[in-house]
């Protein structure tokens, strides 16, 4: 967490008050929450009344997808959901749940080799039967390969038919300029822990006048869209972090992108057949993201070898038991399952340093060489 966010949270944790109560300490807590709401709204360029605090990005995505789907059944049935095939599981799984339980008809929107959704495919899918489309969901930027999505084109295509758009901006917010108002999206997911705020806190930014059916029912907080006592310490820390990252976004992004570019150059210099996945143009990807596939390597071997050399990276997603799975994002980009098993993502952020890049440059060569020997040993049988 950012030191400013830690300080704000610790300060608030020591105070009493429920923001829903009418007495003095309740009013004080309410003021903290409302000021946090205003600060977060300013950071994402939205109105304060458009911010719905949630218990994290996953909950916000669930509220957007299910809440919008259900609300869009109010006047007439709309069965179709158009969603990109490279969404985070917090979007994918609610969509699959709606398909299985509520007979939603899902169009998985394809992506090109860079991982960018095909807007022409979206236009064609919308035009098939626009009145039957409940929502479109396309993330702002992909969490695995870092590809920035053409959200403006998506919004333009969907709004032409009056279809609302949700965008998961969990990865983008703080790393890229994100303006809710200018983007035209109807609801936008953001998460505190990705920007140096606390875990377990997020928000769905919802355009005024857009109806959502709640997922959590109860005391009717957050305009009835999300019940539950507001977590004043967490939302205050979230707002502080949001303020810091948006004020310093441009310079932080430039610094992170330089580290990332150096890391990409270093990896490709040592392992020339490593394949950089996502958009090769640095402007088309998140500044802190470098994603490679290493031919002939198992991601789990590489993860272990790099971890042992002090380099922490990610293989993408794992199943419940902890087994790395071939990424659905890479598969959607046309990467074969064998190649996808050799995927690793390196993330850079405000705590990253040039020494981290040097450590990676030193570790990657021997690690890949050894992982390849292990891959050959496994293939021998």
């Amino acid at each position: 967490m950012l030191p400013e966010a830690v300080a704000a949270m610790v300060d608030e944790l020591g105070r009493v008050g429920n923001a829903s109560s009418l007495h003095t300490s309740g009013r004080r807590a309410r003021r903290v929450v409302e000021e946090a709401r205003e600060a977060l709204a300013a950071a994402v360029d939205a109105g304060p009344s458009e911010v719905i605090f949630t218990g994290g990005g996953t909950e916000a995505d669930n509220l957007a997808v299910k809440g919008l789907f259900w609300a869009r059944q109010a006047d007439r049935p709309r069965r179709r959901i158009i969603v990109s095939a490279v969404e985070h599981h917090a979007v994918l799984d609610p969509v699959e749940w709606l398909a299985a339980e509520e007979a939603a008809d899902v169009h998985w929107l394809g992506v090109d080799a860079r991982g960018r959704v095909r807007v022409d495919e979206l236009r064609a899918a919308l035009a098939e039967d626009p009145d039957d489309v409940a929502l479109v969901s396309v993330m702002w930027a992909n969490n695995e390969v870092g590809t920035v999505q053409p959200v403006a084109d998506v919004v333009e295509a969907a709004h032409r038919h009056g279809v609302p758009v949700h965008s998961d901006a969990v990865q983008a917010f703080g790393s890229l300029p994100v303006s809710f108002a200018r983007s035209g999206v109807d609801c936008l997911t953001v998460s505190a822990h990705k920007i140096g705020g606390p875990t377990g806190t997020g928000a769905l930014v919802v355009r005024r006048g857009l109806d959502l059916v709640p997922v959590l029912h109860g005391g009717g907080q957050e305009r009835g869209a999300r019940s539950g006592t507001l977590d004043a310490p967490s939302v205050r820390a979230f707002a502080v972090a949001a303020d810091v990252v948006t004020r310093f976004q441009a310079e932080a992004a430039a610094r992170t992108a330089r580290l990332r570019d150096d890391a990409v150059d270093a990896v490709l210099a040592v392992v020339p057949d490593a394949v950089l996945r996502g958009d090769p143009d640095p402007a088309g990807r998140l500044p802190g993201n470098a994603h490679f596939t290493f031919p002939g390597c198992e991601g789990d071997s590489l993860l272990y070898l790099l971890d042992a050399r002090g380099v922490e990276c990610s293989t993408g997603s794992a199943c419940q038991a902890g087994v790395p799975q071939p990424s659905h994002v890479l598969l959607a980009m046309g990467v074969g399952p064998g190649e996808a098993r050799g995927a690793l993502r390196f993330s850079f952020g405000y705590t990253s340093t040039p020494a981290d890049v040097d450590a990676l440059a030193t570790a990657i060569g021997p690690s890949v060489a050894r992982a390849r020997r292990a891959g050959l040993a496994a293939a021998r049988h």
């Binding site: 789990d300 272990y304 070898l305 042992a308 038991a321 087994v323 790395p324 292990a374 050959l376 496994a378």
Partner: protein, 358 residues
Amino acid sequence: MRVLAAMSGGVDSAVAAARAVDAGHDVVGVHLALSRDPARERTGARGCCTIEDARDARRAADRLAIPFYVWDLADRFEQEVVEDFIGEYAAGRTPNPCVRCNERIKFSALLDKALALDFDAVCTGHYARLVPGDDPGGTPELHRAVDAAKDQSYVLAVLPPERLRHALFPLGDTSKDVVRAEAEARGLQVARKPDSHDICFIADGDTAGWLARRLGPQPGVIEDDEGRPVGEHQGAYAFTVGQRRGLRLGVPAPDGRPRYVLDVRPVTNTVVVGPREALSVDRLVGERPVWCGPAPEPGDAVGVQVRAHGEEVGAEVTTVDAGRLEVELHRPVSGVAAGQTLVLYRGTRVLGSATLSR
């Protein structure tokens, strides 16, 4: 040494890993994901392969402060152990999947990967002892565990010296009670976890039902030892030589005594039953012997064991070559099925093993 500790999520492998850490080795814990479709929670006596077991292994590694990873060997396990198991039953034989798993997964696929990743050894919670040999290289000898009730040397008798050289069995000199007490003292949550039994990939323990789902019904005839039909079955693969229960014979034996499965004949899909005496054999023939050290010679006196927790019987080796092993038993044994593993001992030392042929 750099040691890879295979951690199933049970108490034995957790304490084995702890002892490897105490011995000063550089230890990394790995849980093998062996099931393509793991159940969420452990049921009955199965002690591995569920998400709960993966979590237990992870927590034990946390307590030991060692790195921990999950490696996916589910496809290999399916091909090398599960399909072998099905194929053996379909061929009228009775396989031991734990022997196959040690031979082809833990001390083959896993060990090869570990060696390629610069580890020196794989450590497991098996109850067996490795004793340095008196040859110049100190080639380890495989011996029975001190705790006879827990001894697992039988399922390791397929490991040749070059595999044993990279194995570590820290529990061989300890009784299970002591291992549990040690786990408790070390603050390992798995200290009181029940022992695992049976076959890890058959969750409910119903092997016949599981085989029936994988192989489908194959109705056929049950005959007595003179060829007279005495009943029907839904698949000869569900029967094991020596089996008495679940035969559901329509025609009682003339002498009214219980009957046992004497033979399973997959070609004619016939199960043959008869009296207990007909199960006795005084000679055993094995194929594809594997030696854990020097091979025995014809005339050597050995002890033989034909099932994981069976008793050892004295015998004399009569034939031994690259593909075949024969022994004469000092006294007959009963209910020996093709496909079972024949393990040879000299004293506590494991000499090697062969797969019983019919």
